[in-house]
């Protein structure tokens, strides 16, 4: 029996090596995910945003969120400093002190869930509390499933999911693209409220085409810009600002349903420089290589039981 056992161990060693080889990150890259058939999203154009924050107000109204006092010394009005469990959508201003020219000086950015095409939070969640709708691609949260482990927060490359730290019965809070309004045929509250069309709602394919159209515009010339809903009728005329020639969110980590255009480099408005392959695909690839649908673990378990049983029998 000894020889057989040795053969088995050799087999184990060989398959371990095989696994190690398969684990190499290059091979572990999973396939890139496709956009859901009726994916909807938001195109945020920083050059059109005037920083009025009416979208923040509309978001809180639509999602029943309380006001937040970011500077406690002056508790006059809602002034969140960042996304939080009370604030699902925020306008931030990034800038260089003393400069007023927007291209060189400051720019606004609107932050909320990106509704990634291959969302890390959805892959991370052990109990499917975060799911991506297979039709419109919106990433939603189900508190009845959530156990509050906060792996979604660790996993999200944009730090979007927030946790109710001061509640004994906490929930994860994030933008769900007003899916309760979408269900009634509406659009997300922030886009409906935006007075300049800086936040534009619509099918992602159309938004991508619109973003490309804007990148091709002559700076300084007047063009028509749709407002609120790209499928709507409202249009405003604006002078085209100078764009950085990149649609943020088109390819970042496999792409997202929220897209950004800006007149300044995206890293200077807090949008990180990210690779095109999502970390999800990498982690999934490695998990898949190791477990192959639990086949490997079961084979190893069988081998272990065989060895140990044999040994115990011999002892008796």
């Amino acid at each position: 029996m000894k020889i057989r056992r040795r053969d088995f161990l050799k087999g184990v060693a060989a398959s371990t090596l095989l696994l190690a080889a398969e684990q190499s990150p290059v091979q572990a890259k999973g396939a890139r995910k496709e956009l859901p058939p009726n994916a909807v999203g938001i195109l945020y154009d920083s050059t059109l945003c005037i920083g009025c924050k009416v979208c923040e107000y509309a978001c809180k109204q639509a999602n029943n969120k309380p006001v937040e006092h970011g500077s406690p010394s002056e508790p006059m009005w809602d002034d969140p400093q960042d996304l939080s469990a009370k604030t699902l959508n925020i306008i931030k201003r990034y800038g260089v002190e003393g400069q007023k020219d927007s291209a060189a000086g400051f720019a606004f950015v609107k932050r909320h869930c990106m509704h990634c095409i291959d969302p890390a939070c959805v892959s991370a969640c052990p109990v499917s509390a975060l799911v991506k709708n297979s039709d419109n691609g919106v990433v939603t949260y189900n508190k009845k499933a959530c156990i509050g482990c906060r792996y979604c927060q660790v996993a999200c490359p944009y730090n979007i999911p927030k946790f109710e730290w001061d509640s004994p019965f906490p929930e994860i809070v994030k933008c769900q693209l007003c899916s309760h309004l979408l269900a009634k045929g509406g659009i997300s509250a922030c886009c409906a409220a935006c007075p300049t069309g800086a936040s534009l709602f619509g099918p992602v394919e159309k938004l991508r085409a619109e973003a490309k159209r804007r990148l091709a515009m002559q700076p300084g010339e007047y063009y028509d810009f749709p407002v609120a809903d790209i499928n709507g009728t409202e249009v405003q005329q604006h002078r085209a600002g100078g764009y950085v020639s990149h649609v943020y969110g088109e390819r970042e980590l496999g792409g997202s349903q929220v897209l950004y255009l800006a007149g300044v480099p995206f890293t200077s408005i807090g949008l990180p420089d990210l690779p095109e392959d999502s970390y999800v695909a990498l982690a999934d690839g490695i998990q898949y290589a190791i477990y192959k649908g639990m086949v490997y673990p079961l084979v190893v378990l069988g081998g272990l039981i065989y060895i140990i049983r044999n040994r115990e029998d011999k002892k008796e």
Binding site: A28, V127, W165, P168, L282, Y291, L304
Partner: protein
């Protein structure tokens, strides 16, 4: 068959009472946590959603509790029966370590009353590394109690039940080897998803492999540490013949680990970061120097027979390995939006309480249950 004995003696000693006091303080803060929320006792925040309760209690704690796994690998897979005196104390520390890690997860998760959702098949997400870790650790805690059950059955003279359990125990022993292999490596896979938020000195495609090796290294180091401390504390002869033999394995394991660890950072081009003098670089160096020093000590057979040097080496391995894991989860993690994290006093006390509970359980069990090998009067 190896004979074991309960040590006997008073349970309510001074160290036991000190530990009890710490547990009481921890219970007070826990009460606060369950009434007012996690934010009322911890410094965790939306940037650092995981603090020491996960990074120490679970990620480091279960590695320290890999003694049972590491010894089972030798005794059962490599058929070295002579190490069996080390099995019971190792299994026992594993059982406590994992059980308390499980308990602290319940303190840590926000919606603990729904924790059973992990076991509902219609909610399980097979893509989630967290799902696999949670399921594996949950099952392994049960397996550890089953593996340890014969010891308790011996105490209560339940011979029939023990015989029946012994007939199927091989299934639990096999699971006791498979499950830690799975979840200890997955604890590494877990942080792959942190992507750009984890410093390149720690983020790597080799995370699963490095986490598995550190679990085994820390497991062996814990066996050596525990055995030496128990010998001194309970005035028993040292098990040097076994300990020096086990430690002959360590230079190989440490060597493989260090080659992969350093070469991986080097090949990705981030090794210069280690020498820039920043906190992260220094911690990276310290972590690996600790493991290297253990390797150098244990590489010489004469050192392995020296209890003092063996003790120092085991401490270096425990520290170095634990630091690697801790840094991967906390220090090397930076969400990049100005967030900061340092554990609060109540948060620390809850972790101390868990360690104290572990020490108390250890003292109580070795004194009342047949865990340590019986001494034959020479």
């Amino acid at each position: 068959m190896q004979e074991r004995q309960a040590l006997g003696g008073k349970v309510l000693t001074v160290p036991f009472k000190v530990c009890a006091a710490i547990v009481l303080i921890a219970l007070f803060f826990l009460g606060k946590r369950f009434i007012f929320g996690i934010g009322s006792v911890t410094n965790m925040n939306d940037g650092y959603p995981w603090g020491i309760w996960i990074a120490y209690d679970v990620v480091v704690g279960t590695a320290l509790a890999c003694a049972g796994y590491s010894i089972a690998l030798i005794v059962y897979v490599f058929n070295k029966g002579e190490y069996s005196p080390l099995v019971r104390p190792a299994l026992m520390t594993s059982m406590f370590g994992y059980t308390l890690a499980g308990v602290s997860v319940i303190f840590d998760i926000g919606r603990y009353w729904q924790a059973y959702n992990i076991f509902l098949p219609w909610l399980s997400n097979l893509h989630s590394v967290m799902f696999e870790v949670a399921l594996c650790i949950g099952t392994y805690i049960l397996v550890l109690w089953m593996e340890f059950a014969p010891t308790m059955l011996e105490k209560f003279k339940a011979d029939k039940l023990k015989a029946r359990l012994n007939r199927i125990i091989f299934v639990f022993i096999a699971l006791g080897i498979l499950l830690p292999t799975m979840h200890q490596s997955s604890l590494g896979t877990m942080m792959l998803m942190a992507g750009h938020k984890l410093s390149p000195l720690w983020w790597s495609g080799f995370l699963p492999l490095l986490f598995l090796i550190t679990a085994v290294v820390i497991g062996y180091a814990a066996i050596i540490f525990e055995s030496l401390i128990a010998s001194v504390a309970f005035k028993r002869p040292m098990e040097m013949h076994l300990l020096s033999k086990i430690s002959a394995l360590m230079p190989w394991l440490l060597g493989i680990y260090l080659v992969i660890r350093i070469e991986d950072v080097n090949l990705r081009g981030y090794l210069p970061l280690a020498f820039e003098g920043g906190l992260l670089g220094n911690l990276f160096l310290l972590e690996n120097l600790l493991l290297l020093s253990a390797l150098l000590i244990l590489a010489y057979p004469s050192n392995r027979r020296n209890p003092q040097l063996l003790f120092i080496a085991s401490c270096a391995m425990l520290l170095g390995g634990s630091m690697y894991r801790f840094n991967t989860y906390i220090v090397g993690f930076d969400p990049g939006t100005g967030w900061q994290y340092f554990p609060s006093v109540p948060e620390l006390f809850i972790t101390f309480g868990i360690i104290a509970a572990e020490v108390m359980a250890y003292l109580w069990f070795v004194k009342t249950l047949p865990v340590l090998p019986k001494l034959t009067k020479a």
